[in-house]
Symmetry: D2
């Protein structure tokens, strides 16, 4: 799993690993080091007798947001740090990996070792940063006027370019249970604290669309003047549309009346059948409003997902190396619910708040999730940048309503 | 009802009615004119044949946020407008009131007139601005180094200065119904669109405190270093505490080791038995966290309120002219739930989102509530600045998590 | 002289005296109090035995920028202070004036009293604020969408509406003397410290235009695309033109292809023969550049002024009550240098730096002028808002290059 | 000369060449490319028949501020561009150098070729960026918490650590001539347009110190509370001291009561005998004020420099590879004026304005100097980062009063 992080960075030049065009996006070098710092801080320092840190100042440089662990580089300044060199960061990774192997060897595979939970968390954390690396690299290269490709070869165009028709699927009203519930087939039994406790939630009858909204459908909204009509927008969204002069999703470019998209393969024609992505919550909500539908709540989404029982294996995840959502085949069964996992994170109209009875962890790891539980929206389902083994139906991702640099998309409800 | 608005402004000088120390606070002159503009725009222009507007440019000056009604003065610039003079604004009020009487006379008391709903909305809107006038005037005078009193006489200190002891009241888990439900005794049958539709919501067993948190209790948090310890705070709250150097609720002042509060009666000693007020959501949440409890959700709050069936008439509202929450008498019944209505708005840990099935109104009035449904928290119960006839258990107020200039307080749940 | 300050404020409503639309502009109430504070602080407190201050907190409220005298209201917050009421400020003026009369009576006309210089400075300071009141009131009323007039009657249009032709007047190169030099006919012998010491300065032969640039001439620059062509502009000026979207001088408004100007008499047609005013240094310099000429230095300006020996009495000053520069009569002698004093402050291309040998005063009054001697440009000659007795050829006014709210104009040199 | 630019960058890693910690500082990669773009744009495109640009988009990426040459990357975004790779920039340099050699060969050494002046300007421009590279690299590495050294070896401490005593040298008053005047021994006869025309300027008798102010002298100011006393400071300087919390010159660090300085060799003890550097104009002026002296004007500086006729060859320039000003030997002749050239740029109290009769060049190169002639101060004499062949007594450098990242120092006058 650690190797996959470095693999993602392999096509980059050292220069690419340093810059930070906006505060949300961290330099790849920082991701490589921060994930390593996580293992060093929470496992090696605590549990490997005699462990000596690789470099005294790395704790200051590569702590992300843990107040419990002291002061750190201001987030906005990550892109001003040329040192340590990339080579030193890779040496740091090797050093920590080697010591982690010693630590694991010492426990001799005993699943009851005291650090098993933290070790699992470190791996999950590594996967989260793999996804961020994919999206941050895209943003970094996209802001460059040369529009370089991360992966120069153009992917074979998926055979389906006509969108499968959208259909509404009814979901029965219920007092269901949401949140993480260990299942027989679950490989690790892992979940984040924010998925707990499982609890009952009531939803009325509703309908969900059987697939994600496509670029073609969203383009109609753009062409109908959706970005020029305040009536579809939440007030803060409309202010943003005007101050940022948004005209379309992030990465869309109009050239001579034709729409292109910046992708990991450089500028590519807009595939009308593929799911729309890189939209903010405001755009997702405005689009839904324009169609007369709405976004689902997270309880609706999860209860529907449990109802339709998606097969995780079938999704379009990081491992596909497409780095882009793909069209639903035109012959997909209209009465099944597709693309629930993978392709795009789906904005819900639910605030990222604690579940009833939520308990954050003790110590520094208590800062992992809980302190972000205000002013953000829940997203569900993972994306084409999510490792397949990382996602599940109870997984709660969260972003502020204006964010667009993740693979975020739209599924309609009514 | 219109007279009450002017009554609130009577102790002010013309100079006081013009200034705007922060963007949230509007000049009293603006409130006086804006509420009038509401009747002119939505009733007289639409329904009184031959009506001529008082002044062509007032629609530009006194439109608050209705995009449907065209451009308007930037909100941050309200305090730069010395004209129209206050006298002209009172003439505007008289002119519109007179024409409203003509309009009402023409309908001859017919409750089925087409504008009955909008007329009722205009009255409710007037009441909302009465509350804002009370809190905005307090803020305006408080920022003045002379700390002038709005109402110079000091109120007779309430006889109780020892706080009634707090007690936990159990509320049974249930699939209850929240949202506005017309009752037999309801005088108007009015509610805002955001209280609809009534719908079922599930809550598990929980407990609610029988009264609001007091100044004395909150002072313990202050003295225990609550504002210096990140562990109690949401991340964005902690950033704010540091950047704004918050040390205590708004209006608290420490002088020679003694705490005072700025009130409508000038600086007064802190009454330890009175409910704490002028706290942000972040402070309310941090305080709750520090005690080991939490804030209720809005469903919990409303279902508890319906369970304990408060008598509206008993609360401390605008009409008491205290302009401050008052202590619960020490002999109050510990097994009843007190102060649910009046005294302080109670922060809930629920986002201000649309209820399932919410429909905004057609036309410009569709902008009244719906477009604010993101990034704000719901508050319940009204305050000492709320007109008594304006509040009900289904009423949803909403503010951003950092706001403190309203009479906002804390009730604990667990 | 004190009465003139109140006279300027007489047409205002109390509401007008409170607001501050931009940081540069102070509320009239503040000017009325601050000039009074000056006499109280530097004269009554120091020299009148037993004097008791009018109000202990006024020193905090009405100190402008004297660090020597302690903390004070932030400049940007002057417009948030509704109190003290305007009536109290007038009472403050009366109280201080009365005590000043006692102080002056006690000195029995002795010109050698120790406070004679500071008293003279207080009067000059009062005059400076009279000019600021005229320009600040104009700005305050201009930002109001109602565009109210300070002085409703329209002035009789001056008989001359055709501009006198411009002519170049040669000035011989010389090693001249600039700075204040007491003259026989000088009534007070007063000057500011920044006019001292008189010293020698060398200028080469140059030419100066015999009058100010007119609105008509400047309009040609506007119409020729001057605000759209970076080549005429200093870099920082061009950035400002773009970020502020300047298209013309301050207060110019285009309506249906016709240019109007906001004046103390409300919106008026642009008089093409009148001097252009309310231009920044950047605009003055760009205009000069466009014509192929340049702005004079302050040494050139003063040596030319001494060469052409203007009669002060002839100018258009505050006492004319026109509040606007007026056209040069068409039959004005072309070989004389007109409008050197009054009408408009003339931007020079000289930095406001200390003269060689400059000594600032001891104590708090040392902060009067010296600490501003960087990043500002010198202006010369006074304006239609300057009291006639306040100006002289050695007078150095100073503003930042972007300021436009004073009566600033353009005289060309080459 | 081109090789020297690359030599300066040789100790850097690719990562170091990309970042931009503040807007004033450009990434080294950008300097390498921009200087190359200068030759391509102004020479090869114009004068080499059939020349094909290296890359069509480099004109957009590497234009600094020439509006005449179209749009360009926002200055603040230079540090977000990871591409082109450093290797491509070196290839760009080689490509342009090779074509420049062809162009020069074609002119066959004819000094009358039409592009001779622009070629000379290109070389001078290259030297200016060599100095900027030295100072920008210092800033980039200094902001890194690891405080890496550009040049790890510590320089041999100069033998003199006691400062030569300061002495005042009289300079006679005169109507002298300043500005560039070609001399017999001048190798190139080059000067910038801002040094022209030579013209007469009058100065009165004055005195100049015989050397630069030292760290030891400046430390006394720091210790005497100079940064805590507003009386020494210009108003805008004092605001900056407070908002930026300046306590000492840039790069000074206090550790356990001992002062260190960040240098190109990492953190080093403060050498009390060496000239103080990295001070803003505000600090230079405040220091001078504190001592009772003042800064010289640029006319004083240049006339003194001509009077004392410094030998250029003797200075401490870029070629010394010290990257730091060095102490004046204790036995230096007290009646000579030392360190006029090299070591530190010397702040003058003169605005960077056009000389009388200044003409900017035609076309895009007219933007080279002229458009910056406002709001900046003149500095004279070059520094330890200036190439020796680049400096002369008429050379006018210019920075805003708050800038500290250049090697700026203080010479006193009175």
């Amino acid at each position: 799993m650690r190797r996959q992080t470095a693999d993602i960075c392999r096509p980059l030049l050292p220069e690419d690993t340093v810059v930070q065009p906006v505060i949300d996006v961290s330099p790849p070098k920082w991701h490589l080091a921060h994930t390593t710092w996580f293992f060093e801080t929470f496992l090696l320092r605590e549990h490997l007798p005699g462990y000596r840190v690789f470099h005294e100042q790395y704790a200051f440089l590569f702590n992300s947001y843990y107040n419990s662990l002291g002061s750190r580089v201001n987030r906005a300044d990550r892109g001003t740090l040329s040192r340590p060199p990339l080579a030193d960061v890779y040496a740091y990774r090797a050093y920590v990996d080697e010591h982690m192997q010693r630590l694991l060897a010492s426990s001799d595979g005993d699943p009851a070792v005291p650090f098993a939970d933290v070790f699992e968390l470190g791996l999950q954390h590594e996967q989260q940063h793999q996804e961020l690396l994919v999206t941050d690299i895209k943003y970094i290269l996209s802001t460059n006027p040369l529009a370089p490709a991360y992966w120069p070869e153009t992917p074979a165009e998926p055979s389906t370019t006509a969108a499968a028709p959208a259909a509404w699927l009814p979901v029965p009203g219920q007092l269901g249970t949401i949140g993480y519930q260990p299942a027989a087939g679950d490989p690790t039994g892992f979940c984040f604290d924010n998925e707990l406790p499982a609890h009952r939630a009531y939803v009325d009858n509703f309908q969900l669309q059987n697939r994600l909204v496509t670029n073609g459908e969203y383009l109609e909204f753009v062409r109908a003047g959706g970005y020029q009509d305040f009536r579809y927008w939440l007030g803060e969204g409309w202010d943003l549309v005007q101050s940022q002069q948004w005209q379309a999703p992030l990465y869309w470019v109009e050239r001579d009346g034709r729409w292109l998209r910046y992708t990991h393969h450089g500028l590519q024609p807009l595939n009308l059948a593929a799911p729309v992505t890189h939209v903010s919550f405001y755009e997702a909500d405005a689009y839904a409003h324009w169609t007369g539908a709405r976004l689902p709540t997270e309880a609706e989404w999860e209860l529907a997902a449990r109802h339709f029982a998606p097969a995780t294996a079938a999704g379009n995840f990081l491992e596909s190396q497409r780095f882009d959502p793909v069209p639903l085949p035109a012959d997909a069964a209209p009465d099944q619910c597709h693309q629930l996992l993978g392709d795009c994170w789906e904005w819900t109209y639910s605030a990222y708040h604690p579940y009833p009875g939520y308990q954050k962890a003790a110590g520094a790891l208590g800062e992992y999730n809980g302190k972000f539980m205000v002013n953000q929206l829940v997203l569900r389902g993972g994306s084409c940048a999510t490792p397949a083994s990382h996602i599940r139906v109870s997984y709660r991702n969260f972003f502020h309503a204006d964010k667009r640099w993740q693979f975020t998309g739209i599924r309609l409800a009514k």
